[in-house]
Symmetry: C4
Subunit: 466 residues, 4 copies
C-alpha cells in the first residue's frame, strides 16, 4: 500500500531535478558571458597600459632596472591620457560631479632606510608611508608631472597606480537581455617589497556591475528579466514542497524509532543501539532535504543578482552547484529499486567505512611525506614551494601525473639533496602506487564478494532501507 503513494513524490523529485538543472544552465550561461567580458577587459588593460607586454601564459612580467621602471610609469600615464584614441572598446573615464577622476600614482616607502651593504650596515624604520600624485587626463598638465617624479629605490616598497574606467557590456543585447554598466577599478602594482633587484608587475581589476542609469534599446522591452525571476520563484516553491514532504517522512521515521525503542525496552528490557536507531532515518531523505535547502538559498541569492541588488556570484554558484550535484546523486536512490543496480551501490556503501579507515592510516604516512618534502625539496623545486602545493603535487603523482618533469627539476642540486630526492620520490611512488592503491582494490573486491554472497541476507535488511 505504501508504494501506491510513491509516484507523486517520485514525479515531484524528477520535476525538481529538471527545473534545477535548467536554472543552473541558464545561470551558468549568463555567468559565462559576464566572466569572459571581465577577463577580456583585464587582458586589454594589460596590453594598453604595460609597456612591451606579451601574451605568454606564465603571466609574470618583471622589471630589472631603474630606467625601465620610469619608462613603464610614463608610458602608462601617456597611454591613459590618450585612451579615447587608442581603445577599440567602449572604455570611458569615470566622472564624479562633472570632472574626470584622476589617475593616481602612489609611492609606498619605508619611513627611513639607510642601507649600505658594502659596509654591512643598515638603519631602517619599518613604518610605511604612502605618497600619492593625482594626474588628470587634461592635455596640457602632463608634462609638469613627469619632471618632478622621483623614486628613492632604497626606500621604495612599491609603486601603485590606481585608475577607474567604465564600460557597458553590449553583448547581452543580442540575447535580448539588458546591457549592464561596469566600473573597473584597476590597480597596477610595481612590487619592490623584496628589494631583490626584481620588481614584479601586476595588474588587478576589481569590477562593480550595476544597472545603467538611463538606457534605450530599440525593440527590447526587458521582459526577459521578469521571466527569470518568475522561474526562480517556481524553483523555490518546488523545493519547498519537496522539503515539506521529506521532512514529514523523516519525522515519521524518528517517531517510529522512539516507539520501537520503547516497545523493545518494555518487552526485551534492552536498549536499542545507536546504529539500529539510525536505521530508521533514511539517509536519502537527509540528502534531498540538504539539496532543497541549498537550492532555496541559492535561488534567493540569484534573484538578488538578477535584480542588481547584490553581486556575490561565487557564493550563489557554490550553493546552486552543490544543490544540483546532490539532486543528481539522489537519482541513484531510484536506480537502487532495481536489484541488479542495488548490489553495486551496496558495495560502495559497505566499502566506504573501510576505505575511510584505511585513508586515515594512509593520511599519516602521506602527511609525513608532505612535511618532509616541503622542508627538504622546497628550496629546489617549484612544486614543493608551499605545503599546499606539496599536498597537491604528491596527490597528483599518485594518480598518474608527469613524474619525469618532477624528477628532472630536482636534478641540479648538491649531492645530498639529489640523493634524498631520489629516495624520497621512488619510495613514495612505490609505496603509494604499488601497495596503497592495490590495497584499495583488494578492499573493494573483497567487499563486492561479501555483498554478493550475503545478497539474500541483505535483502531483508535493504527492504528496511529504501
Amino acid at each position: 500500500r505504501a508504494r501506491g503513494r510513491k509516484p507523486w513524490k517520485l514525479m515531484l523529485q524528477i520535476l525538481k531535478i529538471a527545473i534545477i538543472t535548467v536554472q543552473l544552465v541558464s545561470f551558468g550561461l549568463s555567468n559565462e558571458m559576464m566572466v569572459t567580458f571581465k577577463e577580456e577587459n583585464l587582458m586589454t588593460f594589460r596590453h594598453l597600459f604595460l609597456k612591451g607586454y606579451k601574451d605568454n601564459w606564465q603571466g609574470s612580467h618583471a622589471i630589472y632596472s631603474q630606467a625601465d621602471l620610469y619608462d613603464h610609469i610614463y608610458y602608462l600615464i601617456s597611454r591613459y591620457s590618450h585612451l579615447q584614441n587608442l581603445t577599440v572598446g567602449n572604455l570611458a573615464y569615470e566622472r564624479v560631479g562633472g570632472t574626470f577622476t584622476p589617475l593616481t600614482v602612489c609611492k609606498v616607502l619605508y619611513r627611513k632606510s639607510n642601507v649600505d651593504p658594502g659596509n654591512d650596515t643598515f638603519d631602517i624604520d619599518p613604518h610605511v608611508e604612502k605618497d600619492c600624485v593625482s594626474i588628470y587626463s587634461a592635455s596640457s598638465g602632463n608634462n609638469k608631472t613627469h619632471t618632478n617624479f622621483y623614486l628613492d629605490f632604497k626606500r621604495l616598497l612599491s609603486v601603485n597606480v590606481y585608475l577607474t574606467l567604465k564600460t557597458v557590456n553590449l553583448q547581452t543585447v543580442r540575447h535580448h537581455e539588458l546591457p549592464d554598466c561596469y566600473d573597473f577599478h584597476i590597480t597596477i602594482i610595481f612590487d619592490n617589497r623584496a628589494h631583490s633587484g626584481k620588481i614584479k608587475v601586476d595588474v588587478k581589476n576589481q569590477v562593480r556591475i550595476y544597472e545603467c542609469r538611463d538606457w534605450n534599446v530599440e525593440g527590447n522591452s526587458g521582459k526577459i528579466d521578469y521571466l527569470l525571476v518568475l522561474f526562480d520563484t517556481v524553483v523555490i516553491v518546488a523545493c519547498f514542497t519537496s522539503l515539506i514532504l521529506c521532512s514529514r517522512s523523516v519525522i515519521k521515521g524518528i517517531q517510529l524509532q522512539f516507539e520501537f525503542s520503547r516497545f523493545y525496552h518494555t518487552f526485551y528490557n534492552k536498549v536499542v543501539s545507536l546504529s539500529d536507531r539510525l536505521e530508521f532515518v533514511n539517509g536519502w531523505y537527509i540528502l534531498i532535504i540538504a539539496s532543497d535547502v541549498l537550492t532555496m538559498a541559492g535561488s534567493l541569492m540569484k534573484i538578488g543578482i538578477q535584480t542588481k541588488f547584490q553581486s556575490n556570484y561565487d557564493i550563489c554558484s557554490i550553493l546552486l552547484g552543490t544543490a544540483t550535484m546532490l539532486s543528481w546523486v539522489g537519482v541513484i536512490r531510484y536506480l537502487g529499486f532495481f536489484k541488479k543496480y542495488n548490489i553495486l551501490i551496496l558495495t560502495l556503501r559497505a566499502a566506504f567505512p573501510n576505505v575511510i579507515r584505511f585513508c586515515c592510516c594512509v593520511a599519516m604516512i602521506y602527511l609525513g611525506y608532505c612535511f618532509c618534502g616541503w622542508i627538504v625539496l622546497g628550496p629546489y623545486h617549484d612544486k614543493f614551494r608551499t605545503l599546499g602545493k606539496v599536498t597537491e603535487c604528491l596527490f597528483s603523482l599518485i594518480n598518474g601525473d608527469d613524474m619525469y618533469a618532477t624528477f628532472l627539476k630536482t636534478r641540479d642540486n648538491c649531492y645530498m639533496v639529489w640523493l634524498f630526492s631520489r629516495l624520497y620520490l621512488y619510495s613514495f611512488i612505490s609505496l603509494f602506487i604499488y601497495m596503497v592503491l592495490s590495497l584499495f582494490i583488494a578492499l573493494i573486491t573483497d567487499t563486492y564478494e561479501t555483498i554478493k554472497h550475503h545478497q539474500k541476507d541483505k535483502e531483508s535488511v535493504s527492504q528496511l532501507h529504501i
Copy 2:
C-alpha cells in the same frame, strides 16, 4: 554437416576484410595529401596577410588599439595587391568573365549605438548593418580606397575581409594521379562583437576542389583513377555477397525461432521469453550486416569523390572507418572458435551488462560533479569554461591526466572558491579513482571467475551462440 559449408563464408569474410582495409588505406593516403595541402595553404595565408603573425601553437591573434586595426587592414590590402611577387606557391586571383574578382572589406555595424559609459547611459539599436567596399588589385586604384576608409568603433561589430584565390595541387603528379584545382574562399575576420577592447583576428578558409578545365601531363594517361573506381566496385560486390549470405542466416534464425515458439506454445503452453528469442539471432551476423551496409554506402560516396561528383570527405570517412572497425571486431568471432580464447571474450560479454548498469549509477554522480564544477569553477578555470569541457576534463582526470596543472590554475582565487575547488577535486578524484575504478576491477574479476567455474555449463550454451 553445417560446418562443412563454413570455409566459403569464412574465406569471403577474410577477403572482405583484406580489401576493405586496402581501400581504407588508399583512401586515407590520398586524403592525407589533400588535407596537408589545405592546411599548409591556410598557414601561408596567415603568414602572408596578417601583420606580425607568429607560428605559436595557441593560434590566437588579437588587436588592442585603433591604429593597429587600420594597419592590419592596409597591410592586408597591400599584400593582396602584390601577391604575385610575394608568394612562392602557385596562387592566382580568381577571374570571372575576364576581370579579377575583388578583395571585399565589409564593416558590420549596429544601426545606431550612442554609448556613453561615463554617464552610465546608452541608446542602441541592435539591428545589424553591413557596409562593403570592393578593392580591385589594379595597381593605381588602391590609394584612393585607403583615404576614405573610416571605422566607427562604437558601432563596429566586426570587419570581414573576403578574398578568393586559386591554386593547383601539383604534388599528386608524383604519385601518378591527376592534379586537382582548388578554390580557396578566404575570410579574415576582425571580431569586435564583445566591445571589450580586444579584437580577435581569425582566418577562415573554405575550399572547393574540382577537376581542372584543361590539362596536360607529360607521360601520364590518368588511368589510375579508373582503377580506383573499379576497385571500389569490387568492394561493393564483395560486401553485397556477404550481406546476402548473412541476411539469409539471420532470416533462417528468425524462422527457426518462430517455429520453436509455436512448438513451445503448443506442447508446454508457455510463451517463450524475449531473451530466449534473441538467442536465435546471432549478434555477429548483425555486426557483419551493419559493416557491409556501411561499407557499401561509403564506397558509393568514395566513387562520387573520385569522380569529383561531390566532396564530402567527412561523411565518407566516417562510413568507411566505422565499417572497417566493425569488420576487424568481427574477426574476434573466429578467434572464439578456440576454447581458450573464448573464455576471455565470454567474460567481457558477461561483464558488459553489469558494467553498463554500474556506469548508469556512476553517471549520475558524474553528471552532478559536471554541473557543479561548471557553475562554480567555470569563471576561474579554462578547463571548466563549458559543460562539454568539464565532462572531458573530469573524464581525463579519472584516467590519469595532469592533475597538478588543474590544481595550480585554481589557485589565485578568493578563499571560498579556493576551498571549494580543493574539496571538489580531492573528493572527485578519490571517489572515482579509488572506489569506482576498483569496483570495475572487482566486477571483471568476479565475472572471470564465475565464467571459469561454469565453463562446462556454458559450453552447451555457447554451442548455440556460435
Copy 3:
C-alpha cells in the same frame, strides 16, 4: 651430484654479466661524447647558416615569400665565406688537392610547368632537372654569383645547398683518448615540393669520423685504445666459454629427449607430444646462448669501431644492448632457486600464454579503432595523422597520457566529426581502461591463486625445469 658442478657455471655467468656491463658502460660513455659533439655542431650550423633561426623546440623553420628565400640563400653564402671570422669552434673548409671544395647551390626543377590556376589550366612535365652552381669562398668572386641567380618558382621543387666542413673533437683529450677528425657533409634543403606557398627549411648533417692523419698530443701515448680492444677480447672469450657450456647442456637435453621418446614409444606405444618434448630443453640456456652470440657479434663490431675500421654505432649498440638486457633477465633464473621468489616468476610465466591470447583478441578491436581513427580524425588532429602515430597515440591514451589535450584539439570541427570524435574517444577509453585492463588484472590474480594452490604439485614439475 649434478648440483656439485654448478658453482663454476654460476661464477662464470656472474663474471660474464659483470664484464658485459662494464663494456657497455664504457662504450656508452664514449658514444655519448661523440653524439653530443655531433648534435652541438648541427645546432651551430643552424645558427650560423639560417637567417633568423631561433632555438624553439618545434624546430620547424619555414619561408613564405620570394624575397625571403633569396635573402636566406645570400645570407647563407655570405656566412659561409666569412666562416673563419665567425665561428668560435675549430671548423675549417675541406681541401681537395690544395683547393677548397666549394659551396654548391642546386635548384631542383620540373622540366616544364605552365600552371595558370586563374584559368584552371596547367601543362606540366613531371620529370625533374637539377641545376647546380658552385661558389668558391674566394673573397672577390661572390658578387658575380649573386647577380645572376634566378629562381622560377612555378617550376621550383627545392633548393639544396651542399657544403662540407671539417673539425676535430678535442674533448677526448681530457679523457686521455685520442681526438678524432670529423667530416660534416651539410645539406640545407629549401623544400617547395608541395607548392603550397610554404617552403620548409631543413638542415641535414652527415658525419664521417676517422683517425687524423698527423697528430701530436703532449704527454699522451695513446695506449688506452689498445687496452679497450684487449678488454673486448676478454669479453668475447668469456662469452665463447659460456656458449660452449650451455650448448653442451642443451644438446644433452635433446639427446635425453630422444631417448625418452624412443623408450616411451617402445613401452607405451605412444608418441610424446610436442609440449612434453619442449620440457627437456631448458629455456634459460637458450636465453644465455642468444645473449652470448649477440655479445660476441657486438664486441667484434666494437673492435671495428675502436680501430676506425667502420663506424656503424647503431647496429653495434643494438647488439650489445640486447645482449646485456638478456644477461640481466637471465639473473632471474638464479633467483628462482629460492622457493618464495619462484612463485612470482611462475605466475608471470603461467599467465603469459593467456595474456598473449587475450592480446590477440584485443588487438583486433585495437586495430579496428586505429584504422577508423586514422581515416576520420587524421585530417583534423596531429596525433592521428599517420597510422603509426595513431597506434602510438591510442596505446599512450590507454596507459594514462594526457587525454584532455587530445580532446581539445578535436574541438573546432564540423559537428559530425566532433560528435564522432567524442563517441570514438569515450568508447575507446572506457572499453580499454575499464574492461580490458581490468581483465588483465583478473587474469593475473587468478593465475597467482592457481599457482599458489598447486604449489606442491608444481614443485615436482619445477624440479624438472631448473
Copy 4:
C-alpha cells in the same frame, strides 16, 4: 595493568609530534623567504649582466659567433660599472680595506693548440693555463681594458667572469626578524670546452649569509630570535625524554628475550630462531628512537643556523624532515589499537616481504631494459641520455607519464633504431603495466584475504606485537 601507565607515554608522543611539526613549519617558512630572495637575486643577475637574456624556462643561453662573445663580455663590464644607477635593489660592490674588489675576467686556455682540421692534423698540449684581468669599476679605466682584450678561440676553453656583490634582505623586517647580510659570489661562465662552435653561458651564484656588522631597526628589539632558540631547546628536551622511555622499553624487551631463550633452551633444549627473537623487539620503538635522534641532531643544527654559527640548511632540513616523517608514520601504531584499522596495517606489513622479493626479480628485468635503452636510444632521445635519466624515465612511464611525447621524439631516426625503439617501448610498457602491476595487485589482494581469514589466529600473535 600495563595499560594503566600508557596514557603518559601516549601524551608525550602526541605533544612531541605537535611541537616537532610546529618547529618544522617555522623553519620552513623562514627558509622559504631566504630561498626566494636568493633566487630572485640570481634572476636579477642574469637580466643585468647577460645581453639579450629572456625569461624562458629552458634557461639555456648560448653564443655562436666570435663577435657575440666579445659583445657579451663588454656588455657585462659596462653593466657592472654602472650597477648603482641600474639596479632597483640594494646591491653594492664589496669593499676590502677601503677599495672596491674588482671584476675579474679569466681566460682558461690550452697551453698550445695548433689545430688544422683542413689538413687533418693537430698538435695540442692539454695542460690548462689561466690568464686573468682585473677590472676596477672606476669610471675612466674601462676603455683601456677593452682595447687589449683578445681571445684565441683555438686555445680557448672558457672565459670566466668573477664578481662579488653584497646586499641586505630587508624583507624579514616585516616579520619582526632581523635582516641578514648576503654576499653573492657570482661566476659567469662562457664554456667552450667542447669546441663545437657553441659556447654555453651559465651564471652561478654562491651565497654567504651572515649577521650584519652594525644595524638599527626602529622599534625592534630582536627578541624573537631568542624565543626560537628556546623553542628548539624544548624540542630537544621532549625528544630526549621520549628517547629515554623508549630505550628502556626496548632494553626490557631484549632482556625478556634472553630470559625466554634461556628458559626455552633449558626446558625444550631447542634454540629460539632469529625471527622469534625479533618478535620481542618492538619495531615501533625503534622507529621512535630513530625519529628522536634525528630530531635532536636537526634541532642542534637549527640552533647553529639561528645563531649564524653555520648555514648548512640542506643537512638540517633533511634531518628535521626525516624525523617529522617518521613521527607521523609512528601515529599509525596508535591507530592499530583499533581492530578494524589493524587489519589494513597488518596486510601492508604481511605483503611487504613478498613485494620486496618480487621487486628484486622485476629489478633485474628493469635494469636490463635500462642498460639497453641507454646504449641504443641515448644518442637519439634526450630522456635516455644518461643512465640516471633512463631509470627515471622508465619508472615514470610505468606510472603513467606522457608516452606519446617519448614515442614522438624517437621518430626521425634510421629505420633500425626506429624499429628497435618501438619494440623496446611497446614490450617494456606492456610487460610492466599489464603484467607486473597486475601481479602487485594480485599479491596484495591475496595477502588481504589471508589476513582476513586468519584474523582470529593472528589476534593472539598481534597481542604480542603491540
